[in-house]
Structures are given as C-alpha cells and as structure tokens.
C-alpha cells in the first residue's frame, strides 16, 4: 500500500496538537489580562470637557481645597459637581472676560447647566459613599491619584471590585492622620514607613469595621 501522508505530517500533527492546547491557555490569559487592562477599565483617559478645567492649576498651583467645590464629600455619598455659581464666585472677577470661560458665563446667564463628561464611573449597582471614606481618613489621592498634577482629570485607579476588596480587606494601609492636621485632602501625602502600625492604631481609634463586615455583599451592593 502507498503512503497517504508525507513524512512532514508527523511533525505537523504533533505540533498542532500541542499548540492547540497552548493557544487555548494563552487566549484565556489574554482575556483575563484584557479585563484588567486600562482598555476596559477606562483608566488614564483624559476626557475633553466643555470647559477645559485644570485641576492642576486650581488645586496644584492655586491650592484650592477639594471641599471648596466638592461640597458633599464629607457629608454625602456623592462629592458633587459644583454649580456654575461656584465658578462665578471667582470668575466674575478673575479672567472675567476670558473667552475660554464663555461657557461658564453663558451658563450663568441663561441658567442652562454645563454638561461635564463623567470620568469616574462605577457600575450603577455599586453604592459607593464618599463621606464615610473621607471621615474615616481615606485620602482623596488614594483612589483619585494626584489630581493636583492633572491638567484634565483622568481615572487613575481600575475601580474593579478586586481593587475595592483589596482595601476593604486591609484598610490600615490607606488610613491617614486626621489630626493635628487632616491629611485626607493632602494630594502629596505619602504613607510613612511605619504606616503598618499607625494604620492599625487609626483603625482601632476610628472603629473601622472588621474585614468580615467590610467585605459583606450588602456593604456595597443593595
């Protein structure tokens, strides 16, 4: 009888068998990686805004406190986007007729809201509360990154559930001193070397809830 297959098919067939398995594994890893990549978490994308508002300028250079605009951050679930009025407090005087501030003035005149583009988007079924984090000493920059160096704000953290859990499992690493000076709103705060123990100490003083409580489903989902 005659050969049906050429000698080379021996190698080809074995190789393809192995590569099939290999490729499958590779694909899985790729997908899991992709899900964590900035591509799907929307990290590091600065969004064009109706007014190119620069946090770098206002926070970094002028040193305006976060709470001046984001008034709800200590009391409410949402930090809150400031009303046009807040802008006008200064800009009715400063740069009062700068062309690039026209949308602000226009909004104020016509009583039409400015439509900012949302940067940090949690899924709608996640109930994050700013006030409790701020009050317990979790700093803004812990999640939002160095806002004071962002001309246009972008999302610094992945905002994935595993990322949230990481902190809810050991909060002490994120707790900052509240007195003598409240470091929560300090954009340049760096954790000291002894953060581990002082973090534990803070957690105790501020009655941070146990990991079991902080990782219960209904803590964030309702």
């Amino acid at each position: 009888m005659a050969q049906i297959f050429h000698r080379s098919t021996n190698f080809i067939s074995r190789f393809s068998l192995f590569s099939a398995v290999f490729v499958a594994g590779l694909a899985l890893t790729a997908i899991l990686g992709l899900a964590r990549s900035p591509y799907s978490t929307n990290q590091n994308i600065s969004r064009a805004q109706p007014v190119q508002f620069s946090h770098k300028h206002h926070v970094g250079d002028d040193g305006i406190d976060c709470r001046y605009c984001h008034t709800g951050v200590e009391t409410s679930a949402v930090a809150g986007i400031p009303p046009t009025k807040t802008c006008m407090n200064c800009h009715s005087v400063l740069y009062a007729d700068a062309p690039y501030l026209e949308p602000i003035r226009d909004s104020y005149r016509t009583d039409k809201s400015i439509e900012w583009v949302k940067v940090h988007r949690l899924p709608d079924f996640v109930y994050f509360n700013h006030s409790i984090h701020v009050n317990k000493g979790v700093g803004c920059s812990t999640c939002h990154g160095s806002i004071n160096q962002m001309p246009l704000v972008f999302q610094a953290s992945p905002l994935l559930m595993e990322w949230c859990l990481d902190c809810h499992r050991n909060p002490e690493k994120a707790l900052r001193p509240l007195e003598p000076v409240n470091e929560v709103f300090n954009m340049d705060w760096k954790a000291p070397d002894n953060q581990a123990e002082i973090g534990k100490q803070f957690a105790a003083e501020r009655h941070i809830r146990s990991t079991a409580e902080l990782t219960s489903c209904s803590t964030c989902h309702r």
Binding site: M1, I4, R7, N10, S13, R14, A212
Partner: protein, 181 residues
C-alpha cells in the same frame, strides 16, 4: 546492495492466523532479533509475552494524574472558601469539606482519564500519520484480516537475504522488503 541498506526499513512477512504470528514472534526472538515489530488487526493474546514486553508506564501516569487532580481540586476549593474570600454561606463553616468532595472526585477522574489517554498516545508516539511500514505492499490487510511481522534493518543481526529466508522459514507469505524513503 550494501549501500542500499540505509534505504531499507526492514523485511516484512505475512501470516494467516494469530497462532502462526505468535509462534513466529517467539521464534524471531529466540533467533536473537531485537528490533522487530508485529502488526495485527486486533490485540493478540500471548503476543506481548512472546515478544518479551514488560509492563508499560500508562498505569503509573494515570495514577499521578489522578492524584494531582484530586489534591489540586480539594486544595483549590479550600483556598477559595477559607483564604481567598471567606463568606458566611447559610451558616455553614468556611471549610465545609463534605460539600467539596463531589468536585474533588470529578476532578480526580477527569485528570486521571486525560493522562491515561494522552499518556498512551505519547508513549506510542502518536499521532504519526507517516510511517515506513505503510510502504509494505499488502499492509492494508494489517487493519483487516492479516497478521504481519517486520524485522527492522537497524537490528545488527539483520541481513536482507538471510532475514528474508528466515521469515520464509517461519512459513510467512509474501516476504518482502520495506523501503524507508
């Protein structure tokens, strides 16, 4: 002729019945040949013994596969429920080991079976669509109703004519040489 030896894979002989092949296989071994192989349409009782084969590795591989699957399976479940994300489910303990048994068992079977099959294929060097033996003219009968034996050229006792004669002596039909292209 000598210079052609490299192109010859071996000499093949054909038998009518299993008994003849088994008997022949034993004889060839007594003759001192080592590199020879029998080809049959179905497994023959006694042939492995006649060819002096020893127990093979497949069972061991399977055992290892099974152990890996089982231990890995339980370990994984323990890690998930006790270490990775401990949750109070229905007031059951974190390590509800009785509930982890079914998955452990299934994984044991799965891994054992996979390693049995792929172990067997690997040891047999399959897949191997191309093989010199297929050059043998009447070899298609090997998967139907004939029983073949092939003494390979690499055997140091191999000598084309002598070996061919020897096979005919064992009352093999259609003794012919197999080209190794």
């Amino acid at each position: 002729m000598i210079q052609h030896r490299s192109h010859i894979y071996g000499v093949i002989g054909e038998f009518e019945s299993p008994e003849q092949l088994v008997h022949a296989a034993a004889k060839i071994r007594e003759e001192g040949y080592r590199y020879y192989e029998c080809y049959t349409p179905f497994p023959l009782e006694g042939l492995p013994e006649a060819m002096g084969m020893r127990r093979n590795m497949v069972p061991l591989i399977t055992l290892i596969g099974g152990l890996v699957g089982g231990l890995g399976g339980f370990g994984f479940q323990y890690w998930v429920n006790v270490i990775s994300y401990p949750m109070n489910i229905a007031g059951r303990p974190l390590n509800s080991w009785p509930a982890f048994i079914p998955v452990t068992f299934e994984l044991t079977i799965l891994c054992a079976s996979l390693s049995a099959v792929f172990g067997m294929l690997a040891l047999n060097g399959l897949p191997q669509p191309h093989h010199p033996i297929f050059n043998a003219p009447r070899f298609s009968h090997a998967s139907s109703d004939r029983f073949f034996v092939c003494i390979q050229a690499r055997d140091k006792k191999f000598h084309l004519e002598a070996t061919a004669r020897f096979l005919q002596g064992l009352s093999a039909h259609h003794v012919s040489e197999v080209q190794d292209d």
